[in-house]
Assembly symmetry: C2
Homo-oligomer: 158 residues x 2
DNA sequence: TATATTTACGTAAGTATTTACGTAAATATT
DNA sequence: AATATTTACGTAAATACTTACGTAAATATA
């Protein structure tokens, strides 16, 4: 299965390769949430976690943190609200803003979520410890390399 | 920019992290194609390359190779056909099948594409040589680890 | 050979996003 | 203070897929 064109292309298909790996992770995580009877999907995680840390955060701030557009956040937030995990209140200081925060149900569910997240984190750390090339470190390094000088600029200067 | 919640979450948000990095690559590659006046998008690359290697390949075979669904391939192929790079012929041995192959224009454009792809490949290899943890190797290692025993099974056995 | 199953493909509908656009409130400028 | 600009948000339309479903041809089975 992994001995196909994408694998053979190596460095040239690094994007497709990352997408494929991300898919594998997120499909299994989806099953894990389901088995824990949590009405939750992997895609909500970062948003829900961020809201749980902030207790009142605006749409744009979230969008920037998560590298998504604000319409995407609005949509995701609607689903979390529909499931009852979050609520929104108007900002007292800026009436353009709507602040997202955990609902009562969201706060109550947090410990159960934490249990799952702790296991996932531990498993991921274990998996990467097995590696000669640590996936998370590799990503972080690449981010730093490209931050120093963009991919585009590097291409131009070749 | 990279010192945000996704970064802080580390191993727990590895999916979001990979998506973010993939976005950075593919946006810059899009600009590169545009500057080379190639009527082409990064998302076509693996499909176009695969077709160029096979000279007659069915939709399902492509879908399996690329880890995408067959409707996705049909859609992408339509766009490549609209741009004139590929054409399709009925399989002589199996009349359910439609085989995709390069058109005359596609064949003619291939050397120009190769130039860009060679540069991209070289740049990617250069970038990864700078790393202490080689991104491509890290991905390949993780694929192998999860192929040996799935993420889900590992979670269950924790 | 007749029937059941599988395979290949196509289309339609749903989901997850982005881009584009509009409005209202806040902030900066004159 | 009046005006221009920016910011925050919402919605609509477009894009890139997926899942679900249907049909026809090929293959397996009775």
């Amino acid at each position: 299965m992994t001995n196909n064109i994408i694998t053979k292309l190596g460095a040239l298909a690094i994007g497709a390769r990352m997408r494929r790996l991300t898919d594998i992770f997120s499909k299994d995580v989806a099953i894990i949430y389901k088995e824990h009877r949590l009405d939750f999907e992997a895609k909500y995680f970062v948003l829900f976690y961020l809201i749980s840390q902030k207790d009142g955060i605006g749409i744009m701030e979230i969008a920037n943190e998560l590298s998504l557009t604000h319409p995407a956040i609005i949509h995701l937030a609607k689903e979390l609200e529909k499931r009852g995990y979050i609520q929104s209140v108007k900002s007292p200081t800026d009436s353009r803003k709507r602040l997202l925060k955990l609902s009562k149900k969201g706060k109550a569910a947090l410990p159960e979520f934490q249990k799952v997240w702790n296991k996932i984190e531990k498993l991921n750390a274990q998996l990467m410890q097995k590696q000669q090339n640590h996936l998370l470190k590799a990503i972080a390094e690449m981010e730093n390399i490209l931050e120093e000088k963009s991919y585009y600029k590097r291409f131009k200067n070749m």
